[in-house]
């Protein structure tokens, strides 16, 4: 994850792609990661399907249900990652709801995730208050537990969370669930600026990012973008090339 800090120092923006592991079959996982890293993404979030994904909108939920019907589990994903026969050049971050982790065992999860080459973990329903359930084990394996901050996070709490932040901070740019949006609210810019001022680590904007106009709007206020639904849907429909302009819009060197 050090790479992310270096990227920030060099003045480049990060593009983090979210994929639903096993959407279309487990063998697609390696393929998709390979494709994305070749297309120049900065890091990849590997989503684990869950029966009750309350932070997710219809696109990711549907992808999760497809993966579940393929029999995908947290264990299968971690096993598959350990078997990759190509070099993974970008940080991989496991994104999963808490329950599969608890069922698998928090300690075992962090050990297997490490072996699978992951650098970090995001658990959207594990708030800062309860991070002890996972964080001590993650630390042992040198995995970072990425924190989310949102438009509704009050200032005192924001400071607390940012003080402890590692890897990068996930700045949620909508008051709502994941999914593509036409427009982002005006207040988002001020929010990400505030987060960025306080954060010791890079700040990436996610939830609802699906268009170049979003990137243009926030480019100067964040260190990178996380794109989920748009990528998941593009892979599902076999037209990932449609997302390439968005990747380029973020990662291309930008004249000021």
């Amino acid at each position: 994850m050090k790479r992310l800090a270096e990227l920030k120092q060099a003045g480049h923006k990060a593009f983090v792609a979210y994929i639903m592991a096993g959407d279309g079959g487990i063998e697609k996982l390696g393929e998709q990661i390979r494709h994305l890293q070749e297309r120049g993404v900065t890091a990849i979030e590997v989503g684990i399907p869950f029966s009750d994904p309350v932070a997710d909108g219809p696109t990711i939920e549907a992808a999760g249900n497809r993966a579940l019907s393929e029999g995908i589990t947290l264990e299968k994903v971690l096993d598959e990652m350990q078997r990759f026969d190509f070099e993974v050049k970008v940080p991989l971050i496991i994104m999963t709801y808490l329950n599969p982790v608890i069922r698998f065992g928090a300690e075992r999860f962090t050990q297997e995730a490490k072996k699978a080459g992951a650098s970090g973990v995001i658990i959207p329903d594990l708030p800062f208050e309860h991070r002890q359930l996972i964080e001590p084990f993650a630390k042992q394996q040198e995995l970072v537990l990425i924190q989310l901050v949102t438009l509704t996070t009050i200032d005192s709490r924001l400071e607390e969370i940012l003080k402890q932040a590692e890897g990068f901070v996930y700045a949620v740019t909508v008051t709502g669930i994941t999914g593509s949006r036409d427009e982002l609210a005006e207040e988002v810019g001020a929010f990400t600026r505030k987060v960025r001022e306080l954060s010791p680590v890079p700040v990436y904007a996610g939830f609802g990012i699906s268009k170049e106009s979003h990137v243009e709007m926030l480019r100067d206020d964040v260190d990178g973008f996380i794109v989920g639904s748009a990528i998941v849907q593009a892979f599902h429909e076999g037209r990932i090339e449609d997302v390439e302009p968005l990747i380029d819009a973020v990662t291309a060197p930008h004249s000021v």
Binding site: D52, N99, L126, T152, I177
Partner: protein, 602 residues
């Protein structure tokens, strides 16, 4: 509020009697109250998870202390000898250092202690660690002393503890000989001491089973996306405030009386008593509430709270539609905006309630995802809340969800148990021997049980849905078959597969068709205080007919599970015993199901 420690415990029944205290003490130093580490470990298992377990030592070695801390395990260490500061520093858990107070000079010593807490006691006579003599509390007045570190001991008993507290405002009071009779702990004295020390704030001390983030033992918590944390915290603060506000309580009770029609009778069921040939059966008549079930007790409370927080938009989920109807009703009454999410499957089987909600002006959103039942409706309601959190209150319908919901819903439903307690004492002059209630998410049951939880002689039984049988794939028997997991904001028990995917529940009764259980029930199940039994669809249907014909009361399908379980309990009970059934709702909403299932009924 001053905490209470009961010290020198040696027997099981005394540990249990101290369950409302904040701390229990085990003496490892030479004393007539000395226990071994193994014994302390056994006794400690009987105490609530959040109970402080304090070990008392006199000049023990670090290794000895460390071993006890790890083995029992202890959460605090209390030292009565001449332990050096280096030792105190090495101990990982908080340390209490004890001092004997004779003169004002002795008080000076207290401030020099590096321990986390200081315990003051009258000088010992026979052995160190407290003599039971009263020391002069006035010595602690007008001296510069941090009272938030102060633990008061020495000669306290139920008669003087209140005075001692008001004179010295200590962090904790510590009693041992003051709760004994003839040198042995006395259960009644322990309980009376705690009651006196806590005064009438006893109700609130039950909250201590909840730590700041809202756990019942290992269950509960606030496992929600960050976007909801602000709302959840605001709700926590607003509820705390409202709970202690007499005006709020008055308003809540006003609506319960004038609008819902409380209090509801505790009806003696003469013919059921006769037919079952066992205990006297009493029915708590939640079916008589306006809107037809207990759900309205909670809906009123939360709707008042929402308005207090300035929120005039309400989102709710519903299974059987009873909670949806109750919410839609209250929203009409208070002119609030109302959206109700309901599973597609439930909409089919509870059409009457769907129409009622619409008639009342609510928007009913059909949820076709998953099994199209309650779990999926909660998911959608949560998503809606995440998106509209700034102006919307999520009026959850059962003792589920992130803290403070499980506590708040329980409190609003506790009117059921409180009335029942008063009524049975009126009618029978004593508490019942057993109480049965059905559990879906667990709100009617926890409301009924909560006021009886400390009355250990009252057996509490929850009836969950076995659907087509707990050994089939089609049931909702969460406590019989479930395991620990996180769903809808709380650590609870869940029906789930090996990969942690939540499974679909099945019950003929839409209100019990949920794969989780409220966190407090999960905790009560673990502790053994409440037992949970599973009742099949067929057993429930048979009970519907039985009660309808014996008592002229047509119960809701959910409530019929409690009736079926009560009948089983009655088999092993005698005529001089009392059995209370919570009839959580009436059967009007289930008429279509009854008509279909009982075709040809004669």
């Amino acid at each position: 509020m001053t905490r209470v420690k009961i010290c020198g415990l040696m027997e099981e029944q005394h540990v249990k009697a101290a369950s409302q205290a904040d701390a229990i003490g085990f003496v490892f130093a030479p004393s007539k109250r000395r226990v071994s580490i193994e014994r302390a470990q056994e006794l400690s298992r009987l105490a609530n998870n959040d109970m402080q377990r304090i070990g008392v030592f006199v000049n023990a070695s670090y290794e000895e202390i460390e071993n006890a801390v790890k083995t029992v395990p202890l959460t605090m260490v209390q030292l009565h000898g001449d332990e050096p500061d280096e030792l105190i520093q090495r101990i990982e858990v908080p340390v209490i250092q004890a001092f004997s107070i004779r003169t004002p000079d002795d008080v000076e010593k207290l401030n020099n202690s590096i321990a986390d807490y200081i315990l003051v006691d009258a000088p010992g006579t026979d052995y160190r660690g407290g003599s039971g003599h009263v020391f002069d509390w006035s010595l602690l007045e007008n001296v510069n002393l941090d009272h938030s570190r102060l633990i008061l001991a020495g000669g306290l008993d139920r008669d003087n503890v209140q005075a001692a507290i008001s004179q010295t405002t200590p962090f904790m009071v510590d009693v041992s000989s003051g709760v004994e009779t003839d040198g042995r702990k006395d259960e009644a004295k322990i309980q009376q001491f705690i009651l006196q020390a806590k005064g009438d704030s006893m109700e609130r001390t039950k909250e201590k089973t909840i730590d700041p983030v809202g756990f019942f033992g290992r269950y509960g918590g606030q496992f929600v996306p960050e976007t909801l944390m602000k709302a959840v915290k605001e709700l926590e603060a607003a509820y705390k405030d409202a709970k202690n506000d007499a005006e709020f309580q008055k308003e809540y009770h006003h609506y319960l009386k004038e609008y819902v029609g409380r209090e509801q009778p505790l009806t003696f069921a003469a013919r059921m008593t006769e037919a079952w040939g066992g205990p006297k059966i009493y029915l708590k008549r939640e079916d008589l509430n306006h809107t037809g079930a207990h759900k309205v007790n909670n809906a009123i409370g939360q709707a008042l709270l929402a308005q207090r927080m300035g929120k005039r938009k309400i989102v709710a989920e519903t299974g059987a539609g009873q909670h949806g109807v109750a919410t839609a009703t209250i929203c009409a009454l208070f002119d609030l905006d109302c959206v109700v999410f309901m599973g597609e499957e439930d909409i089919k089987r509870q059409q009457l309630n769907v129409f009622r909600m619409k008639l009342l002006g609510a928007r009913v959103e059909s949820v076709s995802k998953g099994s199209g039942t309650l779990k999926d409706a909660v998911n959608e309601a949560l998503r809606y809340w995440v998106t509209n959190v700034e102006d919307t209150h999520y009026l959850i319908g059962s003792a589920l969800g992130p803290h403070p919901f499980p506590t708040m819903v329980r409190d609003f439903q506790s009117v059921i148990g409180k009335e029942t307690k008063r009524q049975i004492l009126d009618k029978e002059g004593r508490l019942p021997d057993a109480i049965v209630a059905c559990v879906g998410g667990g709100s009617n049951a926890i409301g009924m049980f909560h006021p009886f939880v400390d009355d250990e002689k009252v057996r509490l039984i929850g009836a969950e849905a076995a659907g087509e049988g707990v050994d089939t794939e089609r049931h909702a028997a969460t406590l019989t078959k479930g395991s620990e997991g996180v769903l809808h904001g709380a650590m609870m028990k869940l029906l789930q597969d090996d990969a942690g995917q939540v499974q679909e529940a099945h019950s003929i009764s839409a209100g019990l068709d949920y794969p989780g259980i409220g966190p407090e029930h999960a905790h009560l199940a673990d502790s053994g205080r409440v037992t949970y039994q599973a009742i099949t669809d067929d057993e429930a249907l048979a009970s519907v007919i039985e009660m309808s014909r014996l008592e002229g009361i047509i119960p809701a399908l959910e409530s019929a599970h409690a009736i079926a379980e009560a009948k089983k309990q009655a088999q092993s009970m005698t005529a001089d015993e009392l059995l209370v059934i919570c009839v959580s709702g009436r059967g009007d909403k289930d008429m279509a199901t009854y008509a279909e299932k009982m075709e040809g009924l004669s």
